[in-house]
Symmetry: C2
Amino acid sequence: MIDIENKKTVKEPRITLVGAGPGDADLITIKGIKALKTADVVLYDALVNEELLEFAPEHATKVYVGKRSGDHSHSQEAINQLMVDYALNYGHVVRLKGGDPFVFGRGYEELDHAASYSIPAEVIPGISSSIGIPGLQHIPVTHRGLSESFWVITGTTADGKVSNDLYEAARTRATIVVLMGLHKLAEITDIFKKEDKNRLPVAVIQSGSTVNEKVAVGIIDTIVEIVEEKKISSPALIIIGEVVSLHPMFQPIREFYDIIAQE
Amino acid sequence: MIDIENKKTVKEPRITLVGAGPGDADLITIKGIKALKTADVVLYDALVNEELLEFAPEHATKVYVGKRSGDHSHSQEAINQLMVDYALNYGHVVRLKGGDPFVFGRGYEELDHAASYSIPAEVIPGISSSIGIPGLQHIPVTHRGLSESFWVITGTTADGKVSNDLYEAARTRATIVVLMGLHKLAEITDIFKKEDKNRLPVAVIQSGSTVNEKVAVGIIDTIVEIVEEKKISSPALIIIGEVVSLHPMFQPIREFYDIIAQE
């Protein structure tokens, strides 16, 4: 606790939500780095590259608030309150979040909590895994003749289910990107099978942009098995659509089905 | 032309597609800056912030290849060929593109052209306007209870039409982001009216993240008029969905309809 006399010397509270990008520390923005350099406190998530903490001043307090941590799990409410408490007591809090703060990041809840205490807040976007990770693999989310749109959907809703939006998505020609859906991959591919899209190309990318990156490429009918063989684990992103056929690993798959078609 | 003897001293050709982000120069990634610092040639688009060219070495050739230019319009084929010619003659070409190279950026066509000449190519993602521009306005593309997905669609397909995907999108609960669609705003809102979504919140953001930024917030029934009043022009992004109701400018709109409902 800080007593009243000390409190007078405390800086104005403010909060900056910063997207740290998909994992590679170099995929943060210049603006994100500038925010870190003026941080008094950094609250960071499990998927944030810890190298980024070095951009914060030495005096800055760095607090891990990852929800993946086994022994001390931070609820969203606890993070919201911690963020506000630190801002009121220390000044500038940088809330460093994986990917972009608003792509399934619950960033708006944090912004809203800051607003309820009248603490000024700024948002600095980050490279969302949904676009950046396929891109690094040379899979374009859109490409003339193959896809005029892309639809990014959560594989884990608030009640732990696959989003209902995925059932509708499976009927469209959009490129579909599913985040946090690896543990539901079989359920997701079943949705596409019901729409007779058994041969639609699919890629699953684990830990994209980091040294732990692993890639599986197949079709709706085969991807579950390929992911098991390659021992791909979370965090992973699923990309479904004709654009996946542009990945070099798809070439032998195409040739295999071409041979079958000729027989 | 370079003669054979000189050619021996030329660096290995390579190409890096770099996403420059939505406009603010600070919204490029560290990785993008590092690529620029080793560029021999930079080919840049109309929507790229020209301040970024200062990161390229002094000796680097900077070539504007924007398709918006009135007097000399570069076709995609011309850009592809220019990129390869420069790489073969000068070494490292940085292809600096607005937003992310693969979000309606025709980036894969450039990558494919490089591959056809066996020129190694790398992709560095950028902040896509589709996520970053709403985010800077504190409009989250996803938010618990309001949206479990977002669908990014082009307002101008290869044949100049609104993508057919938009007709399907209007039937879903996804947040819809339309890029390059301002000149078709009336047509787009008609699609939503046919689905009885007259009161769905909509925002139109011109030149997001730059000094020319302008924002219009309304509902499907009113947004065309508001955009005209505010004299909003291209480039602009349209965001449609309940998440737009979180924008501060939406509060008076909500109150207006609440009063009507009570009468």
